[in-house]
Symmetry: C2
Subunit: 178 residues, 2 copies
Amino acid sequence: METTLAHMADARMRLHPQPLTAAAFAPFGDVIETRPAGDPGAFPINGGMVTRHHDLAAVELGGGRALINLFEASPYALPMEIAMLERHPLGSQAFIPLSERPFLVVVAPPGDTLDVGSVRAFITNGRQGVNYRAGVWHHMLLALDAPSCFAVVDRGGDGNNCEERWLAQPLRLELPDA
Amino acid sequence: METTLAHMADARMRLHPQPLTAAAFAPFGDVIETRPAGDPGAFPINGGMVTRHHDLAAVELGGGRALINLFEASPYALPMEIAMLERHPLGSQAFIPLSERPFLVVVAPPGDTLDVGSVRAFITNGRQGVNYRAGVWHHMLLALDAPSCFAVVDRGGDGNNCEERWLAQPLRLELPDA
């Protein structure tokens, strides 16, 4: 029986997180991170005491209003099963880590079909945040290692703004060296 | 001459930061912090893995759009002179610390007159953020001790959204034990 279960586990499709970059994440939304030196979107303000990294995420509110929230997330242990994703059709949702700790981001392109083969996983560098574009499929918040706090900017207002969808087949999320 | 300058410094009005609390800060905006256990605005989501501290700040966009930015702030040394405040008449501005380090908040009530006697100073507990209501006079970002990063949610769009005003008399901002 143990052997059978192990075999079944082995047969599952693997999902290995890749380092999060703006280019790789572009189909799903924005990476919220400081801009490199010399980027015109980073400029001094406040008499030179502050560098403003300006306008890092496309906030979509779909006729609602912007909410600022704090999320306290319990950590997951890997490997783990990814069985369900959700989407917010009416607004974007941004996660900015308040603990300098990497977290995992599991996403799939927007659309009414959710193809298990299109699911992607990323790992942040500990300082990066993400902003999911409206309608992008994503897993629930995946903190690692320790309880972690996030600032979250999303949409409030009328309408059903959360849909959940089970994958046709669960994925096994594991680190590349697992 | 040294004696005269010291005398002048001593004659300045003192501003001593008080611990930041939601009640004390209410005339100026919101304190962004986790809600206490049992508060109905803090509830479990994501299958119990996350506590959502919901809708912690009144985001005002005045016909514009929401911006998410990162501010990298150099620290100030105290005592320091508070000579000028600014206000954003068209939108709120929220500061959420990404470094667990207290910062100072210097504010005065909204209105076209800026009375030096109405200026108040607060010190955060290292995890609190603030959201300035539109039109509230406030000092530029006052990080302490070390370079500090903040997530900032404010307003983008047309119109003049920043006014600066010199105080009739500078204030000397110092810690109570200085």
